[in-house]
Every structure is written in structure tokens, then in C-alpha cells.
């Protein structure tokens, strides 16, 4: 034990309550199944929900005691609380839509839920990480659980392929990140974000800007992979398509939001002095991400793959807000990620139900006549798709509005124009789904579709209301985001 060791105060434990709850919860779930026996496998989803709600309570409690924890390794501020709650909401929705899916595939298991909890634990750490080693650890905790989830149905070849791809490429990209962390330590002698900033902006320190620029770029490679920004987006369509539908839903929202959270924090705190050196790169990456995501989505016939490309495109929009590099930009990104998480989860919830046993019906054409058989679900799906297009009264509208407004305020006129053109292109592939659902004769898939299970129904209604609230009363969330965005620096 080092000489200057000070035992953590109680307040510091409170600040990591969500992580504590999630870790204990995940462990209990693993053990509980063995103890409770085969018959109680279905009871695991409600148990997981209980832990998630407890963790949300913990996050709120932690948020009421803001401050650093464990010798500044973590920092709990409004920003961290926002993202902790966001990923936990995604977790709740994912558990809700997973239960019936697993039952249908005969794969009920507590492991699934404990993996979700562990993954969320990593993301919760990422949201509050104040130091690059913590960033790496959080990223790995989150990712490893997600790799396993992607291949959860072991007998399904598609699942296996998705898991392997995600694992190999993910580890590869994280290696860049770790290398970047090493270099940063070499240059600045610290891994703490504030201290990096202090070192880089102090007139007394000497360092090579070239090396620091390269470090920032290497960190970017790791983050860009997780948020599926171009040119590191190639894995996303393959993995989202291959993974079980509820896992794709989870992956496209929670790890992405957490990666954005840490990405924004690192660049706003540690590298805020070097804006000129990374802004052109992000500019190019944002544009390429939007273009690749939207134009590739135009030609997809597999609905999961279409949503995967759409998720790539959406990451591009958020990157626009990052490029803006202002507090309103950070707030806009936070707002958009919340809106995106809800609408995307909602859309995937429908897909999860609709693909049917063994994910037989994954074509967009398979949606034919869905509205005639399930008018309620089709209406909600339409609602989520309209939100992705960015139609007013939906959260997606204000999300895009705030992002492009922050870009204009930062004089990013060209990026704004190109981004808006992109979102016009996007309307085409979303509307196509609506047309197929409403104007085509019901096909085999629509005829076979069963009534919607309670869990999915709950998740659908919850996300639909969330999208509506964000679309009609955006200020509540935006004000919170604005206040937290100031604390990032």
C-alpha cells in the first residue's frame, strides 16, 4: 500500500452506485439461474429490470452528489448523469424487447441479462471516466460483454460471424486507442484529462505538436470505431445484420451513446486547445459518415441492414455537432443521442417482433401489408421512422434542428448544407418502409405475425411517448443538456 493512500470517502462510493448495482446485479443473475433451476428462467428478465431500475435510482443519487471519485479517476457531473441514465433507459428497453425474443428462440437464459448489465456497467464508467486508463477499461468492459451478446445464439451461423467480426475488428481498433493513450502519457506525463489540458495549454511546457496531433488521431480511431464513423464503419452493417435483433437494438444505442459521451469529454477537455488540428479530420469524417450511411441505406433490402446504415448516418449527424465544438454543440449532441436512442429502440422493437422465429422475415418487402394486420404497431413504427426523417413534432426533428443550428452558429455552413441534403436523401429509404407497410398487400410474413407480446408493447409505447415528448417539449431535456454541457470543460 502506498504511503499516501487515503481510503475513499462514503461520497465516492455513492458516486459509483450505478456501477456497483450493475456489477452485483449481473453476478446475482448468473448465480440465480443455477440456484433457481430451469423452470424459473423466464423470471430473469423481471429480475434484470429490477436491477436496472435500482441502478437508475443509484445514478440519480450519484447525480445529486456531484464531484470526483477515487483520486479523480471518475467524475460525476450532470453530463455523466445524463449519459448514465440514457444508457440505463436503453438497457430497460432492450430487456423489455429481449424476453419474448429469447423465448421464441428457445434461448431463455440469465446469462443474457447479466451480459447486458455488465455491458451497461462499462458504459456507465465511460460516461463518468475522467482519465484515459479508465476510458480504456470502461470501453473494454462494455465491448467484451457486447461481443458475447452479438453471438448469443450459438447455433446460428449469422450470430457467430457477427460476434467474431465485431470482436476481431473491435480489439484491433481499441489497440490504436491504447497506443494513443501510451503516447499521450509519454508526451504529457499524465492520463488525467484536466491535467493533459493544463499541460498542453501551459506556456511553460515543451512538447511536439506533431506527436500530440498524432495522439489525438489515434484516440479518434478507437472512438470512431465504436461510434461507427467513417472510415471505420464497415463492421456495423455486418454485425447489426448478423446479431440477434434485440442485441442489434442495444448495440446501436447504448455503446454508441457511451462512446460519444467519452469522445466528447476527451476532446472537449483534454484536447480543447488543439481544435484546429482535429477539426478538419472530424469534418471529413462526419461528412463521409453521413454520405456512406445514407447512400448505402438507399439500396438495402434487409431491414436490419438498412437500420444499421441508418445508424451510421445518424452517427454522422452527431459528429456534425462535435465538429461545431461549442457548448450548444455538445448539448445538441446529447439531445440527439437521447432522441436517437428512443426512436431506434422503438424501430428495432418492431423488427424484433416481426422477423419471427429464426429471423425468417428480414426483408423490407416482408413488411408488406403489416399495417393491415397490426395497425397499432405499424402506426408506431411509422412514428419512429418519421422521427428518423426529422418530421416536426418528433424528437428527431428537434435533434436535427439543434445539431444543424449549432453547426451554423460555428460557421460550418458547408457541412450544414451537405448534412441537410443527406437527411433529405434519408427520407427516401425510411418512407419506403412506410409505403410497403401501408400500400402493399399483406404477404406471408404479415399473415404469420402474432399479436405483440407485452414487453415489446411496453417498450414501444414508452419510446413513442419519449419521442413525442422530445418533439413537443424539447426544452426540459435540452435545458438539462445545456447545463451539463457547461460542466464538461
Amino acid at each position: 500500500m502506498p504511503v499516501n493512500f487515503v481510503p475513499p470517502a462514503t461520497g465516492e462510493y455513492i458516486r459509483v452506485l450505478p456501477e456497483i448495482v450493475l456489477t452485483i446485479g449481473g453476478t446475482i443473475l448468473m448465480v440465480a439461474e443455477g440456484l433457481a433451476g430451469e423452470r424459473h428462467r423466464r423470471g430473469m428478465a423481471p429480475l434484470a429490470l429490477v436491477f436496472l431500475l435500482l441502478a437508475m435510482g443509484g445514478a440519480v443519487l450519484a447525480g445529486m452528489n456531484p464531484g470526483p471519485a477515487f483520486t479523480n479517476l471518475l467524475i460525476v457531473d450532470g453530463y455523466a448523469t445524463f449519459f448514465r441514465l440514457l444508457v440505463l433507459v436503453v438497457g430497460v428497453l432492450s430487456v423489455l424487447i429481449s424476453a419474448s425474443y429469447l423465448t421464441r428462440e428457445n434461448a431463455d437464459s440469465a446469462d443474457y441479462y447479466s451480459l447486458i448489465l455488465f455491458s451497461l456497467c462499462g458504459q456507465s464508467l465511460l460516461a463518468s471516466a475522467n482519465e484515459l486508463i479508465m476510458v480504456f477499461i470502461g470501453l473494454e468492459i462494455s465491448s467484451i460483454a457486447t461481443y458475447v451478446l452479438a453471438g448469443f445464439l450459438r447455433k446460428d451461423k449469422r450470430n457467430n460471424e457477427a460476434a467474431i467480426k465485431y470482436f476481431l475488428l473491435g480489439s484491433f481498433a481499441t489497440a490504436f486507442l491504447l497506443y494513443g493513450v501510451g503516447w499521450i502519457y509519454g508526451v504529457t506525463g499524465t492520463t488525467n484529462l484536466q491535467e493533459i489540458h493544463r499541460f498542453l495549454s501551459s506556456p511553460e511546457s515543451t512538447y511536439s505538436p506533431l506527436m500530440v496531433g498524432a495522439c489525438a488521431a489515434m484516440l479518434f480511431v478507437g472512438f470512431a470505431f465504436k461510434i461507427s464513423a467513417a472510415p471505420f464503419q464497415a463492421w456495423a452493417p455486418d454485425v447489426y445484420q448478423g446479431a440477434p435483433a434485440p442485441v442489434s437494438a442495444f448495440m446501436s444505442a447504448a455503446p454508441k451513446a457511451a462512446a460519444f459521451a467519452v469522445f466528447l469529454r476527451v476532446y472537449s477537455v483534454a484536447f480543447s486547445g488543439l481544435t484546429e488540428s482535429w477539426q478538419p479530420i472530424l469534418w471529413a469524417s462526419a461528412l463521409a459518415t453521413m454520405v456512406i450511411g445514407n447512400f448505402a441505406a438507399l439500396r438495402q433490402n434487409n431491414i436490419k441492414r438498412m437500420l444499421a446504415y441508418s445508424s451510421v448516418a445518424n452517427a454522422g449527424y452527431v459528429l456534425v455537432a462535435v465538429v461545431a465544438h461549442t457548448e450548444t454543440g455538445v448539448a445538441a449532441a446529447m439531445f440527439y443521442l437521447a432522441a436517437y436512442a428512443l426512436m431506434n429502440l422503438g424501430a428495432f422493437a418492431i423488427v424484433t417482433h416481426y422477423v419471427n422465429k429464426g429471423e425468417r422475415y428480414v426483408g423490407i418487402d416482408d413488411m408488406a401489408g403489416f399495417a393491415r394486420k397490426q395497425p397499432f404497431a405499424a402506426a408506431l413504427f411509422t412514428w419512429f421512422l418519421l422521427s428518423m426523417i426529422g418530421v416536426p413534432l418528433t424528437g428527431g426533428f428537434f435533434g436535427k434542428f439543434y445539431i444543424f443550428k449549432s453547426a451554423i452558429d460555428s460557421n460550418l455552413i458547408w457541412l450544414t448544407v451537405l448534412g441537410l441534403l443527406n437527411s433529405a436523401v434519408a427520407a427516401y429509404y425510411y418512407l419506403r418502409v412506410i409505403v410497403v407497410m401501408y400500400f402493399h398487400e399483406p404477404g406471408e410474413a404479415a399473415l404469420e405475425t402474432a399479436s405483440i407480446p407485452g414487453g415489446i408493447r411496453l417498450a414501444l409505447i414508452g419510446s413513442a411517448i419519449g419521442v413525442f415528448i422530445l418533439g413537443v417539449f424539447p426544452s426540459a431535456v435540452l435545458e438539462f443538456a445545456n447545463r451539463s454541457a457547461m460542466l464538461v470543460r
Binding site: A173, S208, R299
Partner: protein, 621 residues
């Protein structure tokens, strides 16, 4: 706090209940929810107004910040002043009566619950519109009532003419709304806020614009919005067609409430208009033109609802005339009395149509006086009121308007008086054709049930006594002081005789000498055909606007933009992708090694780029 939000909330709750569960509820329950929610909102409005009396200044309730973006801060605020109080009473009071009537009228119709869900949603938006304390929230209500109007016009959507009429109303209103939206942008640019009190305060500080300036521009654009919503020249064409909707809808939305939103909005913006005399003059002339044009068309129509539709357009023109000459309170007074008697005319017409099993052509009516006496009695009250027979409600507001117009311009006054005579003439014509003479149809007329005629009786009392009961200019005195209050007895005699002259002329032509109208129509020839065909305005719009757009869409948008440009782009992007082959294909080969190669390539490019940019700032520092 008086919890003003509850006033629009009740109908919203009614909409949600009927919209979500209406299919499973009995018709009785649906009706109870619909009526109950509107009556509750009426009672709550009453309670709030009594609590707030005497309401010399506006009462504002702020709930939360609705939209915040840079300097644009829009709170979610509801406000009541005396103007809003009057509108609240009209909307919820008449709304309640019409909801009650509708449960009887719509009883046999398909989609009973859908109808009441829409109607309640309409009430929600209409109340939001009149309670809003800024231009944007007003716009929410404005668009919402437009949406409900569209849904309800096309309620019988299987009928082609109904869905076409719905589309027409929707499209024409979009033109007006575009004007309104631009006006709102300009208001924000000019004043930096959208709150009514702040904008009006700032406007009062500006000089009166004798030549066209920003205020004139704003007011003219607001007027464009108002001409769409309130069916004024040149955008009035949608309202007559809107009568395809069920009759209670015509009464509530297309006579009593929604179409007066334009009048309300202009009155709300009075401070802006008073500083833009050019815009005021335009308002007056547009109103006058609309009043004359629609009244003359009304003479020649045979569909009983079309007659009243043109009558509504004409009366709305009267209101705009009042606004244009600065008699805001007289205009609002006419909104109130018109709501009484025009709702009654439509509901009475509905009762006639109901009695005759959906017959609307007056040539197949006649002699109904004895067969449906209650309907006849209540319609007579509305008839007297709209004709301006002394001491009925319509007489008060009409005389107030004409008096103010005379003060402004005698020429306009005489045109207005002539229009009043024409108005009395066509309404009398419709009454005589319906209730006098011999029955010319084949149905077996029957009186409507009490649930329908009781609301009619209430409206009949209001039509007769409403003008004396509610002295609107007096109520609005604190907001709109009356400059020229003295009553000119001569003017009132002239105005009253114009109405009586119209009734007498109609009696001569349609009761004493039934052959006369046909011979007059023949002798007038071309003029008659011009008016009978509504001045060919629809045809002109069709040739000048609709067909070019349709053709343009077919050749330009569809064949060029869609087929050639968009499909070409999509296909082109596809072939480009194929042509690039190596590039995009390798990016998505599904091969892990290729993906990893891309990660490396991307990383190398980024590291070099970032290093180069950072390094260009100098070597070591």
C-alpha cells in the same frame, strides 16, 4: 393560478379516450365523453373568468419554457384578456351546443367515435389558438384546427367529392399558412420576440408607416394567412366545398369558430395593423370585395348548405371590413352574433336535410312550415337576425360595423348597405323556397328528435337576444376605446330598411310571384350565368394554377425530377459504386481482413493528417 391549461386539456382528454378506446365504447358513452369534455371546459372557462373578473389587464400563466435556442425563447404561456374571454365563451359555449346536436345528427353514421374524436381534437386546438400568448403557440392551434377541418371535411372519405374538398381546403390553407409563417419570422427579426404583449408594446413605440415598410409587410403577410383561414378573396374557394363535411362540422368549424380565427388573429395584432394604414386599407377592401362577391353568388345557389356557405364567406368579409376601418370591437361583436345565427342556420339546415333524408336541393323542398314546425320556428329567428331586423343580434353588430365604415368612407358604407340588402334577400329566398309554397319532393318529412332541436332553441334565443345581452364593444372598451361612439339615427334607419327591403323583395319574387325569378334570370342572361357559376373563379384557378402544377408535376417533377434525376442519381450512385468496384466493394466485402485493412488505412491517413496540421504550427514548443 387559475389553471387555464385545463380548458384545452378536457377536450384533449376526450379526444384521447374516444380516439383510443372509442371503437369498443357504446355510442352513448362516446357521446357522453365528447359532450362532457367540452361542457367541462366551458364550465372551467366560466369559473376562471369569474375568478379573474373584471380582467382589466391580461392574465398570463407560464407553465414552462417550450423552445429555447439562442436568443429565441418561447415559453408555453396561456393568457386571458377580455378578447380571449369572449372567444372562449363562443368556442366552448357554442361548441357544447353543437356537440349535443351532433350526437343526434350523427347517430346513424359509420365512424361515430372517429367523428367525435376529431371534433374534440378540434376543440383542443381551437382553444389553444385563442389562449396562446405568442405567435408560435397560436400557430400550433392554427395548424391544428386546419388539420381537423381537413379530416372532418373528408369524413365521408369514401365519397370522392368529400376527399377532394378536404384536399382543396388543405392546399388552399397551406398558401395562407406560408404567409403567416413568413410574417412570424419577420416579427421575430424585427422585435426579437414572439410574445403578444411584448410585440404590441414594441409596435406602439414605432412610428405609423405612411409608406410601405416592415410593419406593412408583416401585416400584409398576416393578412395572407387570415384570408386563407377565414376564407377571404382570393383564398375563399375552399369554404363552399368544405360543406361536403357533416353539417355539425359546417356549423362549428366552418361558420362559428375556426373561420373566425383570422379575424381574431388580426384583432390580436391590432397594434401592428394600426401602425400600417396601407395594410388596414387592404384589409377593408378585401373584406368588402369578399362580402359583395359571396353575397351575390348566394342569390343564385340551390343547395341550401351552399347558400349558407357563401353567406358565411360574405359575413366574414363584413368582419374584415370592420377590422380594416379600425372598428375591431365591432368586428368581434359580429364574430359573436354571427356565431349564434350562422350556427343556427347550419344546424337548422341540417335538421331540414335530416328530415328530408339527405335532400339538399331547395328546388325539391317547399311547404315545410307545417311539417317541421320547430325547425321552422328556430330558423325564423336566425333569418331575422342575419337580415338585420331591428333589435335582433345581427342588427346590433351590423349597425356597429356600418356606422364605423360610414365614418371611414361613405362609398364603402353604401356598398355595405347594398350588400346587407342582398344578404337579407338570399336568406329570405332560401326560407321561402324551403318553407313556403307546395312540397316539391318525395320524402316523408319528420321532425328531428329533442336532442337536436333543444340546442337549436338555445341558439334561437341567442340569435334574437344575443346582441342586446352581450355588448361586445362595451366589454372591449379597455382594449379598443371607441372614438366615434355617438349613434347616428339616420344611418340606423338606412341600414335597417336595407334588410327589410331585401326580405320584401324576396317575398315578392318567391311567394307572391313565383314565376318572376326565372324570367329575371333569363332576361339577365350572361350576368346570371356568370354569378350562378360563381364568377368562374374555380375554373380560373383550375386553368391558371392547378392544371399547370399538375402538368408541371407530371412532366417536370415526375418525369424529370423523379424518373430522370432521382432515379438516375440512385441508379447512378449504384453504378458508380459498381464502377468504383475496388473501393466501395472492398469496403463491404464481408471479409475481416479487408475491413482491418481499411481500419489501418483510415488510421494512417488520420494520423498523418492530424500530425501534419498540428506540426505545421511549428516544431517543438
Amino acid at each position: 393560478m387559475h389553471h387555464l391549461w385545463l380548458i384545452p386539456f378536457f377536450p384533449l382528454a376526450g379526444f384521447l379516450v374516444n380516439g383510443l378506446f372509442g371503437k369498443r365504447l357504446s355510442k352513448g358513452a362516446v357521446g357522453m365523453v365528447a359532450i362532457g369534455s367540452v361542457v367541462l371546459s366551458f364550465l372551467w372557462a366560466l369559473k376562471a373568468l369569474f375568478g379573474l373578473a373584471p380582467l382589466e389587464t391580461a392574465h398570463v400563466e407560464r407553465y414552462f419554457t417550450w423552445i429555447q435556442s439562442g436568443s429565441l425563447v418561447i415559453p408555453y404561456e396561456l393568457a386571458v384578456d377580455r378578447l380571449t374571454a369572449i372567444m372562449l365563451m363562443v368556442v366552448t359555449g357554442i361548441g357544447s351546443l353543437i356537440h349535443i346536436y351532433a350526437t343526434g345528427y350523427m347517430h346513424e353514421e359509420e365512424g361515430f367515435y372517429r367523428f367525435f374524436a376529431y371534433l374534440n381534437l378540434f376543440m383542443f386546438f381551437m382553444l389553444t389558438l385563442v389562449l396562446a400568448n405568442n405567435y408560435l403557440l397560436l400557430f400550433v392551434g392554427w395548424e391544428g384546427v386546419g388539420l381537423c377541418s381537413y379530416l372532418l371535411i373528408g369524413f365521408y372519405f369514401l365519397k370522392h367529392s368529400a376527399s377532394t374538398a378536404g384536399n382543396k381546403a388543405f392546399i388552399v390553407n397551406r398558401i395562407g399558412d406560408a404567409g403567416y409563417a413568413v410574417a412570424v419570422f419577420l416579427i421575430f427579426l424585427t422585435f426579437g420576440t414572439l410574445d403578444f404583449p411584448k410585440v404590441m408594446e414594441a409596435a406602439k413605440a414605432l412610428p405609423v408607416e405612411t409608406s410601405a415598410g416592415i410593419l406593412t409587410g408583416i401585416c400584409l403577410l398576416l393578412l395572407v394567412g387570415a384570408t386563407g383561414k377565414s376564407a377571404q378573396v382570393p383564398l375563399y374557394v375552399w369554404l363552399p366545398d368544405a360543406m361536403e363535411g357533416p353539417t355539425p362540422v359546417s356549423a362549428l368549424i366552418h361558420a362559428a369558430t375556426m373561420v373566425t380565427a383570422g379575424v381574431y388573429m388580426v384583432t390580436r395584432s391590432a397594434a401592428l395593423f394600426l401602425h400600417a394604414p396601407i395594410a388596414m386599407e387592404t384589409v377593408a377592401w378585401i373584406g368588402l370585395a369578399t362580402a359583395v362577391m359571396a353575397a351575390t353568388i348566394g342569390i343564385t345557389q340551390y343547395d341550401i348548405k351552399k347558400v349558407y356557405a357563401y353567406s358565411t364567406v360574405s359575413q366574414l368579409g363584413y368582419m374584415f371590413l370592420a377590422l380594416g376601418v379600425g372598428a375591431f370591437s365591432a368586428g368581434i361583436w359580429h364574430v359573436v352574433t354571427h356565431a349564434f345565427f350562422k350556427a343556427l342556420l347550419f344546424l337548422g339546415a341540417g335538421s331540414v336535410i335530416h328530415a328530408l333524408h339527405h335532400e339538399q336541393d331547395m328546388r325539391h323542398m317547399g311547404g315545410l312550415r307545417k311539417k317541421i314546425p320547430i325547425t321552422f320556428a328556430v330558423l325564423t329567428c336566425a333569418w331575422l337576425a342575419i337580415s338585420g331586423v331591428p333589435f335582433t343580434s345581427g342588427w346590433y353588430s351590423k349597425e356597429a360595423i356600418l356606422g364605423a365604415v360610414h365614418h371611414h368612407s361613405p362609398l364603402m358604407y353604401w356598398i355595405g348597405v347594398a350588400t346587407a340588402a342582398v344578404t337579407a334577400f338570399y336568406v329570405s329566398r332560401s326560407m321561402f323556397m324551403t318553407f313556403w309554397g307546395e312540397y316539391r319532393g318525395h320524402a316523408h318529412p319528420h321532425e328531428s328528435p329533442p336532442v337536436m332541436w333543444l340546442p337549436l332553441a338555445a341558439l334561437a334565443v341567442l340569435s334574437l337576444a344575443g346582441g342586446a345581452l352581450f355588448n361586445v364593444p362595451h366589454i372591449l372598451e379597455p382594449m379598443f376605446p371607441q372614438g366615434h361612439g355617438e349613434h347616428d339615427f339616420m344611418l340606423e334607419v338606412i341600414g335597417s330598411s336595407a334588410g327589410l327591403l331585401g326580405i320584401g323583395l324576396a317575398y315578392v319574387m318567391y311567394v307572391a310571384n313565383p314565376g318572376l325569378p326565372a324570367s329575371i334570370a333569363t332576361s339577365l342572361g350572361g350576368v346570371y350565368r356568370l354569378v350562378y357559376n360563381k364568377y368562374y373563379v374555380d375554373e380560373a384557378y383550375d386553368a391558371a394554377v392547378v392544371r399547370p402544377i399538375v402538368n408541371g408535376s407530371r412532366t417536370g417533377l415526375w418525369q424529370f425530377t423523379d424518373v430522370w434525376l432521382i432515379d438516375g442519381m440512385v441508379n447512378g450512385a449504384g453504378s458508380l459504386a459498381r464502377w468504383l468496384g475496388g473501393g466501395l466493394r472492398m469496403l463491404q466485402s464481408g471479409n475481416i481482413r479487408a475491413y482491418a485493412a481499411w481500419v489501418v488505412a483510415g488510421a494512417v491517413i488520420f494520423i498523418i493528417a492530424a500530425g501534419a496540421i498540428a506540426g505545421s504550427q511549428g516544431g517543438l514548443r
